[in-house]
């Protein structure tokens, strides 16, 4: 493969990820016992469900958004006040506080959405929704989506550990569930929607700005897997020690294929799907970037940052 650039319509990651000793996502408490998130799944040829530890996609999205916030500030991307403060309402905070986003002339959704996209990278990439009584709802769907992270049966172990809090009065005993093992993770980035205004079918920011946002997004995805900042990490910092899988990129209008690592043959299936889609839609419609460990994953993200350009029109072709 040569080092030429290619347009990225959609980017998917399917992989199996190893996290050791984490309590990233909890479902509440029973007495002094914290309970971890669990999913029941059923595998081919099995009749009994298997209970596995998991982390919700919402949690991963939050971790990723936190990294993106720091990257956006560091790289000087446009941010609204809400965006700068990492306010959960993002641009909604500015609108609520009347921080001069819209003028009286801005009445239609096309203009309003364009202004939001130009003003706030985080609102553009992570989505937002502002509802108004009697008014039209201003909203945007996130460019990045995470599936739930599900443990591989027999390869994930959850145990309960005893701790005690010593205050000035009473020591309080409590138990925390901590998990280790191999997890299946999937995510999808709709790169073509970065800066895209669905009301006029055009982009509200230029290609240079779109590329900056794509790079920031890719970097935040890398950091999400390097440093998963979920719950209880002050005392149960997760150890990410392995990540293998495949990043797929589609260069034409076609979703980048993904299969969960809960399927043992997921990697082979993705490559086979990529071949089929390349036969159907033209050579190099789907590009696959395999990785065997975290270092290779980081190197592949670096490759994407160097070579992937945000996709723009139906005429865009792969230039391999």
């Amino acid at each position: 493969m040569t080092n030429t650039q290619f347009p990225a319509y959609s980017i998917s990651i399917s992989g199996s990820l190893s996290w050791q000793l984490h309590a990233l996502n909890n479902e509440g408490n029973e007495g002094n016992q914290s309970l971890t998130r669990r999913y029941y799944i059923i595998q081919k040829g099995m009749n009994e469900p298997e209970s596995v530890n998991g982390v919700s996609g919402d949690m991963l999205k939050h971790i990723q958004a936190e990294h993106l916030h720091r990257i956006a500030i560091e790289s000087g991307l446009n941010l609204s006040e809400g965006g700068k403060q990492f306010n959960p309402d993002r641009i909604g905070y500015d609108i609520d506080k009347n921080i001069g986003i819209f003028t009286e002339k801005d009445t239609d959704l096309t203009t309003k959405t364009a202004k939001v996209i130009q003003r706030c990278s985080i609102s553009d990439l992570e989505g937002f929704m502002v509802t108004e009584k009697k008014g039209q709802t201003l909203k945007r769907e996130s460019v990045i989506e995470f599936g739930a992270v599900v443990g591989l049966p027999t390869l994930v172990k959850t145990q309960s550990y005893f701790h005690a809090k010593y205050g000035t009065d009473n020591p309080t005993p409590y138990n925390v569930q901590v998990s280790s093992g191999l997890y299946a993770t999937v995510l999808n980035i709709e790169a073509f929607r970065i800066g895209y205004n669905p009301h006029n079918f055009n982009y509200s920011i230029d290609t240079v700005e779109r590329k900056k946002r794509l790079d920031a997004l890719l970097k935040s995805v890398l950091y999400t897997y390097l440093q998963p900042n979920g719950a209880k990490r002050n005392t149960n910092l997760p150890h990410p020690d392995h990540f293998e899988g495949v990043i797929t990129v589609s260069t034409r209008r076609c979703p980048a294929p993904m299969i969960s690592a809960l399927e043992a043959s997921y990697n082979r299936q993705i490559h086979s799907l990529a071949n089929t889609l390349n036969n159907l839609n033209g050579a190099d419609t789907i590009l696959c970037f395999d990785f065997e460990n975290i270092a290779e994953f980081a190197a592949q993200i670096e490759t994407l940052i160097e070579r992937a350009q945000p996709w723009e029109s139906d005429n865009a072709e792969a230039v391999e």
Partner: protein, 252 residues
Amino acid sequence: MPKRLNKSHTTQQELPVNAKQWLTVTYQPVSLFSLKRSDATSMAARSNLVPTPYAIKMALLKVLLESQGGQHQSDLDQWIKSQFIWIRDLSIHIWPPEKLVVNRNGYKLRYYDQTADKADKSRSTLPMQDGFVFREWVYMQGHLQICCGPSDRLTQLEQLFSLINYFGKRGCFFQYLPQYSQQTLDLLFQHNSTIGFTVQPMDDLGEKTTFSRINPYSTDKAQLDKDRVIKPGFLPVQLTSSSARYDIYQRY
């Protein structure tokens, strides 16, 4: 009505011998699936077991607008009106995967107190309520098949299905499998409901609804039972085991 019968007979004859009227597409579930029932009033509520015709048609409209809307900017209203009609009129049948596990997960939510007036800008903070809710996530084992028609636009329909990668809540990914697509003269699968079935309310677009009614950006309002109709759907699955945390369904 002899005249009408005659007309439909002529149309049948004009079709080429190998005319295909139904399209069946296959998806591999990638992630956990969740789609709140459309008649739910609670924040969490139960999930549908499979995507409903309404969710599928909305997914089709989304990819249609994204992929072709830009080429019709000058005649957008006219174009989407005609496209909407053929998508609205599709009859959609769903063949669930072999096994389904419905997970009931607990979530701790903090949400705005709905009884307090949010419009009161003089308040420095908005009152929040603590809540603990259940949300259902469905793990699917096997392929999900969708058969829809009758239509003479199967090529376009297949193209649109190939662009979809999630149904229901965002992040509920499904991988389209191009090699399994089939065009047939008749509906590909028909469940014999005398064996047994599970009822799931299936919401669909109303027969006479318009694009502007279901467009969330439009000021036209959709009415339940007119623009969005909820009919009982009979799924060929049976509940094989159940507990406080999960239900397992198996296809007949």
